[in-house]
Symmetry: C2
Subunit: 332 residues, 2 copies
């Protein structure tokens, strides 16, 4: 295992030390492992909290800032944070207008965020709502999940709900924005290589030099099937087909994200996006906004995922709204 | 070799197709392999052109846009573009105020940009100046270079000169900004793994599982030496020491970039940055601005580089000025 780390047990802590050093505009609680907006809590604003296992950076800490999250809670690598720090974060961003939890659909995360909401509410009476993101069309009931896994769409939920909250929408409205994104977005991923969890010290799974895995999760969970290594043109089809089979993306503007899993260079991600864009055009899907890059990763896995979201004019407006985070930044 | 590509000979072309699809705000000339600002040429504005071999994305195409480059010329992977497309780009961004070439110090790039400047000037009379970036303190006279190699500082040259040009500075002034950055910046890199050039199909060099290479270049050129794989804390020292040995970074605000080589996840880059920041503070270096992420890569190499630049208030102002590119974006 070759990684830029000190002790395998300190990876998350040490990385958060770097986040604190790199981003004086944020406040990092190293004990609780929570990244806050520097100005949290914002009085009168709905607070947005997300989090989960580490290893998916920039998700979630990279999306803390104006127009997106108020706090992100970092668990150990690929391991949900416990309820206590989530409850701390929830109280810490409570500006009197309630708090929305954005939770990827993994059993541990769902349970711990729920307990955290109860804890925080019991202590301070804060109104906590929750939205569960379950956009991965690849599998039902995977290794860590009942139902579908939550993957790339989480970035769009955080962006659009964050924009609504920043504009002063109330808790009902922010929750509605988030749920609308969940209803209208789907994702699918492929891997060329496994990732290596630092504490494990070796690749999570073996993938022969001439094979790739379709429908992979962001923790190296099994996907749909292994197939021979294919061209980018074929991979684009592997990504697009299962998503379009699951939901109709015609007749509405679409927001697309071609996401890198961590070790695939941008040169390749753009190349795949070119193939995806051509295929979507053929299928009558009109992409109006697009992101290409590493937005939700799986440590050092090589591969990519595609996320599509059916949008309306209001969604596009919220997507375009100013955002000032290390992972997404525009108009600010 | 596992890559998200079609034919190895089409990698650069196919990737530019994706850039065009992902960025309707840019204009991509697929024949000449030039990425232009959509609004180029801007009348009365100094034009900025950079480029070089592909494989370093987001450099250079990702830095085309308001406040940075007017055009980027993409060569084959790790191979300089020829003079003709550079001359095309030079003419294409000429708004009557002259053009600055920003050239990383590799023999092929220096020669081809020089010939391109002569070609363009002979054809249209455009005044072309050139700044050579040679910030890598690791080695003198490397595989492709006479003198020092040009690496991470190129991002700062493009950012600061781009800001000056956007504000309406004339060619003398923009050239002076670029040369001041070159005089005041230094870089150093380390690799945990080799990269694999698509056309070669196998890693450029072998690096055993328990070793890393110090002073590596961005094309897999040899560095200073191979050493046993070390902790992030030791790697931070490996990065900082040769830079501070070469130039005094005390007594001035410093702009720092901890750059990923392509396959190292952000979790690890932040971790290294935390160690670097602590070490710089110990050595009396005051970092006022910082970037952490993939800004100038070496395909799928794992590793990182550090760039430091002595700045003054004017440099900080130009660094902070609005920029709207896919690789750097703020205030716009």
């Amino acid at each position: 295992m070759k990684k830029l780390i000190n002790n395998v047990d300190d990876v998350v802590h040490d990385s958060l030390v770097g986040v604190a050093a790199a981003h004086p505009e944020l406040r990092v609680d190293l004990e609780q492992r929570v990244v806050y907006r520097g100005d949290a809590p914002k009085q009168g604003k709905v607070g947005l909290v997300s989090g989960g296992g580490s290893g998916h950076e920039p998700l979630h800490g990279g999306y803390v800032g104006t127009g997106m999250l108020d706090a992100a809670v970092a668990g150990e690598v690929f391991t949900s944070p416990t309820p206590d720090p989530i409850a701390e974060a929830t109280k810490g961003v409570d500006g009197g207008a309630g708090v929305l939890h954005i939770v990827k659909n993994y059993t541990g995360d769902v349970m711990n965020f729920e307990m955290a909401a109860e804890l925080a509410n019991a202590e301070t009476g804060v109104d906590v709502r929750s939205v569960i993101v379950d956009d991965d069309v690849a599998v039902q009931d995977s290794l860590y999940t009942a139902g579908r896994r939550g993957v790339g769409l989480t970035v769009f939920v955080e962006k659009l709900a964050g924009a609504a909250a920043e504009e002063g929408a109330d808790l009902d409205a922010v929750e509605a924005v988030a749920k609308k994104v969940v209803a209208n977005g789907r994702s699918y991923g492929i891997a060329l290589t496994s990732c290596t969890v630092p504490a494990a010290g070796e690749p999570t799974f073996d993938l022969p030099e001439d094979e790739m895995e379709l429908g992979i999760g962001i923790h190296g969970e099994p996907g749909r099937k292994r197939v021979p290594l294919a061209s980018a043109k074929e991979i684009a089809k592997d990504l697009v087909d299962p998503i379009l089979d699951d939901l109709d993306f015609t007749g509405a503007p679409v927001i697309a994200m071609l996401n890198g899993m961590g070790a695939s260079p941008l040169l390749e991600l753009y190349l795949v996006y070119g193939e995806v864009a051509a295929l979507l055009a053929e299928r009558g899907v009109t992409v109006e906004r697009r992101l290409v890059g590493d937005y939700i990763t799986s440590l050092d896995m090589a591969g990519c995922s595609l996320t599509l979201m059916r949008a309306d004019e209001e969604d596009l407006r919220l997507f375009d709204a100013p955002v000032n985070t290390s992972g997404l930044r525009w108009g600010a």
